[in-house]
Subunit: 331 residues, 2 copies
């Protein structure tokens, strides 16, 4: 059983995924991992993955057969497991709990060679729907507090399989960075009766220099203090505390996400990238102070050690310039 | 002039190093950077670097000539600059200040091919002395609050030059992760009248399973909730709030640091790594609640996006196991 452990000093939780139990030699051979070959995510190979949780497929098409357009299943090597009772324990000064949670994979397209930039906009919409439906389902499990939806695109960004996929990890705790955002947003709200994200969006839209793109419902911008070149946030312009489809519709969000990814592909030569969805935790989904958003970053610079060890970032590209390059990208 | 900017939501400061002003094409060509060739850190090439700030060299040997055994100079491409007045300003909801600070390089050995593991223990002692002397000097500058000493070893860990070197960045702010440690340690002290690091060390020494090595003054251990496989912390066993040579002596610390690096080289095939020194800020150097330490991590796993975007880490190697492997390493 994996274990969740809390650092007693900074309060950061980590998953120790004992089942994966990597020994020194495993890290050395990792760097020689080969590419190509058999793909468990391609149609026809459904039998090699855990049984699907949901899929978008024609009426009458049986589960775990080809013909799907999107497929969700448990990660074959999950970092957390869904069965069991959540047990919390101390160990002297330390806190831990057993690794209850879920780890799922969303395959956005049956085509091995497509990416979120090159697949249809409908496929990106379907990804957003799948994420929303999985969040809605996992919320019923009272042991869980939070679901992190994220994507690693490209080997450098941590993807271990070529075939494009998004992942989610459902957790019995709220991740540190999200908790910090929640706490800070709550303080701002207590003080000003306003959402801090709404304040930032209003200032940015008024000013315009860090805005990359906006449509009827969403805005994409380079944040004022980005950790890395071309870091981009996508937020709903109207206050929305939880990730959801306004009017049962993800068209505008899919259009924006795909446009941003295409602009990055164009000017940064199809970079590896990561994105993370930040939304309110299950126990406080509808509130006035927090504002869901997507944080997206192309993997251009190496994360140097002192950033890892200090929480301090050096960014060689001002966000005003990266926004300008993005706006000018011809796609 | 570079700029320090604060994220209004999580309070994280970043350096926007405008002078480095990287455009999209720069990131693409970066990946094709070539190795070998001219080394500005090798003896004989002193004229290609900014003039040295200090060096360990024979009596009578003039500055910026060969014959040194250790050399400190400003980084040729500094992320912060030392000249000017510290100016703080708001920009609506945002906070910023101009990029006053220092960015220096410590070359630990004239030999291009040595690493901290393979050079003499005396050279590692000298590195610790140089760091201490630079901290002591930079402290006189009242604009500065903190100095981050760190090392990126290997290209994957962010080193841009092969010749082994350590860096320091002096800052007008305290980095986020250090500030979190300070705040948390202060709360623990208010509550218990004890240093939280001392509490952790006592429990770990009593238990032993995460201890890698100890000598008279220091202990090396795998932390209870490590972010990555083989993460290792080195701490003084006795309470010391600021990095300093007890009894004017760094012998024990150099011995331990080198031993840990040699163990890692042995079992992980000379991995790239990073370390960061965490010490008390200049304005509160001697205190009862904070405990300086070194955080060291070999670069074995890719930092996946969701760790960057969530502050949440998955570690496939339990610290009890990594400590055991390290203890068993024959060096």
């Amino acid at each position: 059983m994996p274990e969740l452990r809390k650092d007693p000093i900074v309060g950061r939780w980590v998953i120790i995924s004992i089942e994966r139990g990597k020994r020194p030699v495993d890290f050395i051979s990792d760097s020689r991992r080969k590419k190509g070959g058999f793909c468990p995510f391609c149609p026809g190979n459904e039998y090699t993955t855990p049984p699907e949780i949901m899929a978008f497929r024609p009426v009458g098409s049986p589960p775990n057969t080809p013909d799907w357009t999107l497929r969700v299943m448990p990660n074959k090597f999950p970092v957390l497991q869904i069965d069991g009772e959540l047990k919390k324990a101390g160990e002297g000064i330390f806190d831990k709990m057993n690794g209850i949670g879920a780890h799922e994979v969303i395959i956005e397209s049956p085509d091995h060679n497509l990416t979120l930039s090159t697949m249809s906009q409908k496929a990106v919409e379907d990804l957003l729907w799948a994420a929303y439906l999985r969040l809605t389902d996992l919320k019923k499990d009272t042991r869980l507090k939070y679901v992190l939806v994220f994507k690693n695109e490209g080997e450098v960004a941590g993807a271990s399989l070529e075939h494009s996929h998004t992942q989610l990890i459902a957790l019995p705790i709220v991740p540190k960075l999200v908790k910090e955002e929640l706490d800070s947003a709550r303080r701002h709200y207590e003080f000003k009766e306003r959402c801090i994200f709404c304040d930032v969006i209003n200032q940015e839209l008024g000013d315009g220099k860090r805005i990359i793109y906006e449509n009827a419902r969403y805005v994409a911008m380079a944040p004022f203090a980005p950790r890395a070149p071309f870091e981009t946030w996508i937020l709903p312009k109207r206050h929305e505390s939880m990730f959801m489809p306004p009017d049962r519709n993800f068209t505008d969000l899919a259009e924006m996400l795909q446009k941003i990814l295409r602009q990055m592909d164009r000017i940064l030569d199809t970079p590896p990238y990561n994105f993370v969805l930040h939304t309110s935790p299950f126990y406080d989904e509808v509130n006035e102070y927090y504002h869901w958003h997507i944080e997206l970053v192309p993997k251009l610079t190496k994360i140097a050690g002192f950033e890892w060890g200090s929480g301090f970032y050096i960014n060689p590209t001002p966000p005003e310039e990266s926004a300008q390059f993005m706006r000018a990208a011809k796609i």
